[in-house]
């Protein structure tokens, strides 16, 4: 019975965090993009536009939900549902932290750990094509259809390098369950080089990671691979005909996919929650970071750029200091530190996503395919073969 309850609690927690993340991810993206383009980004709603996501959600909810007469209704309604639900499922197998004991209940920081965990996101990704494809087809509109076709073709093409890139680290840790993989990357070479997959002997997975990242962009239809919704070519691609909440769900699905894939990448390549350097010191990193953040906030509060900064920044500062204090409490560290590291890595990857979006132009369609099949796929293959060879040569991998 406890199992069920604990699971429910965990699900609730994860869901809440996940949703807020999704909501604020968009805010973060807009902010970062703005700063890349030396703008200020959303600033009106709430301090530093912090209330922007809420406003957006309200807007989308309250917009007229129109249903074009010429669409194939059933599929038209089904598509966004498929997209968003599949996007939200994947998080269930992601481990955020080690095995813990709280109040005598021992459990994983993970909703469920299945033996073939790694295959799960792949399976979901394989099916989640239908969301977009159906959306494109059912809206009965040539732009949407093109978008749908493009996206399904693109996803199929980029699933191969993605999968091959994922397989390589599996060879190193020799297990399919996410938790086992994360544990397999614990420890350090020479006491300071972490044994994450990208550093792990006998064949560090740096190339594998790069291939994974690139295919991840494609899988999530991000720039430079966002052809399915290339505005200037096909209006908005597969979701041209969608409005209000249905549009929002596509939107959410996209961000959810980003989070999922970055989480997977973190677990597979960046050693999940394993800290950058050994435990006793690494536990003091979060407090220091938050301390620094707090101090920075106070500094900005003291010499404000705008009028209301002198109120908001100190508040942030206090919040950060509180966080620092929280992380400084030893009994909590063993729970919070892993979460911090995990979040840090994921956040970093997401920043990379945004950064790329702010930097690169879009591919042309033939270039996209050409790149996938004639460059990325062979690279992934070679990487895999090399890994396999070296693992075979040095079985007891040091």
């Amino acid at each position: 019975m406890t199992f069920v309850i604990v699971s429910l609690i965990k699900i609730a927690l994860v869901f809440a965090v996940f949703m807020t993340t999704l909501a604020y991810l968009q805010w973060v993206e807009r902010k970062v993009l703005a700063h890349i383009q030396s703008r200020t980004g959303p600033l009106r709603v709430g301090p530093h536009g912090l209330m922007q996501p809420l406003a957006d959600v309200l807007k989308l909810l309250t917009k007229e939900d129109l249903l074009p007469p010429y669409v194939n209704r059933f599929f038209y309604l089904l598509a966004p549902f498929i997209a968003v639900s599949l996007a939200l499922i994947t998080i269930a197998v992601i481990p955020f932290g080690p095995h813990i004991n709280v109040f005598g209940i021992s459990t994983d920081m993970q909703i469920s750990d299945i033996n073939v965990g790694v295959l799960f996101p792949l399976a979901i990704a394989a099916v989640s094509v239908y969301g977009i494809a159906l959306a494109g087809w059912s809206s009965n509109n040539k732009y949407s259809l093109l978008g749908g076709l493009r996206s399904s073709a693109q996803m199929i093409s980029y699933e191969l390098p993605l999968t091959l890139a994922i397989v390589a680290p599996l060879l190193l840790v020799n297990h399919l369950s996410f938790r086992a993989i994360a544990d397999g990357q614990a420890g350090y070479y020479l006491g300071f080089i972490p044994r994450w997959a990208i550093f792990q002997m006998p064949f560090p997975q740096i190339f594998g990671f790069l291939i994974f990242l690139i295919s991840a962009f494609a899988e999530t239809n991000r720039i430079p691979f966002d052809l399915p919704e290339a505005e200037n070519e096909l209006v908005a691609g597969f979701h041209t005909e969608y409005s209000s909440m249905k549009f929002a769900s596509f939107f959410m699905a996209e961000y959810a996919n980003i989070v999922n894939i970055t989480c997977v990448g973190t677990v597979l390549f960046l050693g999940a929650w394993q800290p950058l350097f050994p435990a006793p010191y690494s536990n003091w990193v979060p407090p220091l970071v938050f301390l620094a953040a707090g101090i920075l906030c106070f500094f900005h509060g003291l010499n404000p750029a705008r009028k209301n900064d002198q109120i908001t920044f100190p508040i942030f500062g206090v919040a950060f200091l509180a966080l620092a204090a929280l992380f400084a409490i030893p009994p909590l560290q063993f729970i919070l530190a892993p979460l911090f590291w995990f979040a840090a890595k994921v956040g970093l990857l997401i920043l990379v996503f945004i950064w790329i979006r702010g930097t690169l132009p879009r591919f042309r369609y033939d270039q996209l395919m050409h790149f996938a099949w004639t460059f990325l796929f062979p690279c992934a293959l070679v990487n895999l073969l090399l890994t396999a060879l070296l693992v075979a040569l040095f079985p007891g991998n040091p």
Binding site: V116, L119, L176
Partner: protein, 166 residues
Amino acid sequence: MDTVLFVICAIVAIVCAFNLVLQKHPISSALSLIGVMSSLAVLYLLLGAEFMAMAQMIVYGGAVMVLFIFVIMLLNAGTEKNSNKSWFAQIAGLPLLLAFVAVVAFLIRSAVPGLKNVSFGSWWGGTAQNVGRLLFTTYLLPFEIISILILIAILGAVVLAQKEID
């Protein structure tokens, strides 16, 4: 718990299969087929074939059916027209089918002895390790042959699809 899951999945599968047969539009058939496959994947899990379940989703649910959907969209295949050809199939089909399922069901019930009872988690044989080990030892030759076969199939598909019609 098991029974509930099984019944749900079985019903979903059968309903989807019926839908496949009854729907007039290829896309709906394809979707229902995907439904069948997904529920089958769950059933595989119940039978302790976790790897197969995932493979089912990836290969069938992913690759194969996406191909189908893709082709349907590409050809923009509409709903099918009725044709009164092949009357024989129309007439003799249904009784034959019924007889078939009846006979098979009867055989399973009566003739197949000592069937186990399935309880979830009582046997985890189908882990990736086991399957892989067997695949690369006992069944290595078939495996290689199959891989060559699929390579040839890919080439054939490319050739066929590229061929210009004159």
